[in-house]
């Protein structure tokens, strides 16, 4: 528990870190709709998060995910709906008084402040004394493994380092809710993986309820407790990563979360199967079907095989380089019947 001394009591943000709670209503947004002129960017979005939960908002560019984040942070106004955070209705509150902090896509570190001063900024705003400010910032600097760069200015730091400072700067004010806007998109591919683990670690250690916006499905699945998939300004599905993958509510979710082979269409449902649930079979056993190989794509550990099965193109994986399988040859495949997805058309 930690209390800040503030000069302006109104702006005081008390916070207390609880263990991961079960209260579903710690953070809630209800029926958010946002229009730019005639264009509906967000349509009737509702979401909730437990305390300490890590939620991802996943979607393609233009799906409205960043707008949603900006609405939550209070940077975007003029929308319909409600936002509740820890028993407060923060819909009408200004950004400063929401208890929400944000890590921006392009970091937005203050160029005139060095690393530690950047981290201290939020505490300085709240009138925390210099020595205490420094102590807390120093702790966070260690947490984000940047203690060797204390006195460097933003222009002396690499992208990944700036990212860490930006996270520390957002976390130091102990926000009720932490928002991350595409935090990996400006990093190199190999750095992204590190950063992803890193953010998850920080979040576990501080147990701050976190909302991440990303367009990268794998990152979202790896890092989140639950994912809200946004499509055209609406929530396609909001659930745990496994559910999104294995029990997609519609075809968009199913195909966004991974390759999917549609086998048949009946009574308003698609019957489909993920590639990993199709196996190559050695012979014409019972339950096996024949297919014609159309294309093979070798990627090292496995080979992606595209084949024609009952007039439908399907794809699945073969182990290694699949020497025995040749293009245009006839093969037998076995589909795991228990893993067949029933998707609303």
């Amino acid at each position: 528990m930690h209390l800040f001394n503030t000069k302006i009591s109104r702006r005081k943000i008390y916070y207390e870190i609880h263990a991961l709670g079960d209260d579903m209503s710690f953070f809630q947004i209800k029926n958010i709709t946002k229009k730019y002129g005639e264009l509906k960017v967000l349509n009737d979005i509702s979401l909730s998060a437990k305390q300490g939960e890590f939620i991802s908002i996943l979607g393609e560019s233009g799906s409205g995910k960043t707008t949603l984040l900006r609405i939550i942070s209070g940077l975007e106004g003029q929308f319909a709906g409600e936002i509740l955070l820890k028993d407060r209705n923060i819909t009408k509150l200004s950004t400063q008084r929401r208890g929400v902090s944000m890590v921006f896509q392009d970091y937005l570190l203050f160029p005139h402040l060095n690393a530690i001063e950047n981290i201290e900024f939020g505490l300085k705003i709240r009138g925390v004394t210099k020595s205490q400010r420094y102590r807390e910032a120093k702790n966070l600097l260690e947490l984000v493994q940047m203690d060797r760069h204390e006195n460097k200015y933003p222009h002396q730091l690499s992208g990944g380092q700036k990212q860490r400072i930006a996270i520390a700067r957002a976390v130091i004010v102990k926000p009720l809710l932490l928002l991350l806007d595409e935090p990996f998109s400006s990093l190199d591919a190999n750095l992204r993986v590190d950063m992803c683990d890193f953010i998850r670690n920080i979040q576990r250690q501080t147990s701050i309820t976190t909302i991440l916006v990303t367009h990268d499905r794998e990152e979202a699945m790896k890092i989140s407790d639950r994912i809200a998939l946004l499509y055209g300004g609406e929530i396609a599905q909001f659930d745990e990563p496994v559910k999104l993958y294995e029990k997609p509510s519609d075809l968009y979710t199913a195909s966004f979360m991974g390759d999917v082979n549609i086998l048949a269409e009946e009574e308003g449902y698609y019957l489909a199967v993920r590639p990993e649930n199709i196996r190559l079979s050695s012979s014409d056993r019972e339950g096996c079907n024949s297919a014609i190989v159309k294309d093979l794509q070798y990627t090292g550990s496995r080979t992606k095989c595209k084949a024609l099965y009952e007039d439908k193109e399907i794809s699945f994986f073969l182990a290694g380089n699949a020497e025995k399988v040749k293009i245009s040859s006839k093969i037998y495949i076995e589909i795991d019947k228990s893993k067949i997805l029933k998707i609303k058309a």
């Binding site: 950004t95 902090s101 203050f110 005139h112 705003i125 957002a170 928002l179």
Partner: protein, 290 residues
């Protein structure tokens, strides 16, 4: 990007040296030479510091120097301060509209035209005094404060400010607009209010630009000749006027004295260049981050 050929860059710099560096350095050297009392044309050929001593001994030098420093420091400070404040408020607004074109007008006018405008407006028979009379605020022409040809140099200062505030606004505005997009939101999400954003982010980020603007304006105002010539009082004289009068005096024997005075004025400006170069570097690294 940096190519390394021995002769080519020097060849490219040749016109620069011929048309610019040589005349400039030659004139600085001839000023220096004359200020040390070497003017073979009128029979002076002995190196001496006497003329500097003469300048430093004269009371008018100090009164003019003090007057010019105070005048240009206050005018530049006000111009930069007002410029920043106005740019900040303008950058808060969404649309720019015509204002940027209007702000360019005073920059296009030469300083002496600006001085004349201020004269038309603020002299005792100017527009301001006529309007005040028509509202009954003053009864006769003498009641209007003497703002032009006054010994405080108010008219000169107002003229500088009128012309230089727009310059400062146009200089600072793009930077503010740039940081408004990102850094302001970052500051707000960390709990800063508008005033804290101004004080702790906008002002420090613009600080190098503000200081370099101040230096440029100060250097200009300090050595300016036209404006004090048109709007100034007979005492105290701005340092530029002092140098001018001494230069055009019929007595060629006073030339070394003029040049000693001139060298001192130049040195004042020259000192500022180092500060400026250091600042430019700082601005560039900061802007790379925005």
């Amino acid at each position: 990007m940096l190519q390394n050929k021995r002769a080519l860059p020097y060849l490219l710099l040749l016109p620069f040296l011929v048309f610019f560096a040589v005349p400039l350095i030659f004139s600085l050297c001839s000023m220096l030479k004359q200020s040390f009392g070497i003017m073979p044309g009128i029979g002076l050929d002995e190196l001496t510091l006497n003329y500097y001593v003469d300048v430093l001994d004269s009371g008018t030098f100090y009164s003019s120097l003090g007057f010019s420093i105070a005048l240009s420091a206050i005018a530049s400070l006000l111009a930069v301060g007002l410029g920043f404040a106005i740019a900040f408020i303008l950058a808060e607004g969404k649309e720019e509209g015509m204002i940027m074109s209007i702000l360019r007008l005073p920059i296009l006018l030469p300083h002496f035209t600006a001085a004349f405008l201020i004269f038309l407006l603020l002299s005792q028979s100017g527009l301001a005094s006529r309007v005040m009379k028509s509202f009954g605020l003053i009864a006769n022409i003498e009641e209007f404060p003497k703002l032009i040809f006054d010994s405080q140099g108010l008219g000169i200062m107002i003229s500088y400010i009128w012309k230089e505030v727009p310059f400062c606004i146009l200089f600072i505005y793009p930077t503010l607009k740039l940081i408004n997009k990102g850094l302001r939101e970052a500051a707000y999400t960390l709990g800063a209010n508008k005033f804290q954003y101004l004080w702790m982010v906008a002002l420090p980020v613009c600080k190098p630009s503000i200081i370099s603007l101040f230096i440029i304006l100060f250097a200009y105002n300090f050595g300016s000749f036209e404006v004090p010539f048109i709007l100034g009082a007979s005492y105290p004289k701005a340092i530029g006027i002092l140098a001018y009068i001494s230069y055009i005096s019929a007595d060629i024997g006073s030339r070394p004295y003029t040049m000693a005075l001139n060298i001192m004025i130049t040195a004042m400006g020259g000192m500022l260049i180092f500060v400026y170069i250091w600042l430019i570097r700082k601005i560039k690294t900061m802007e790379g981050q925005l």
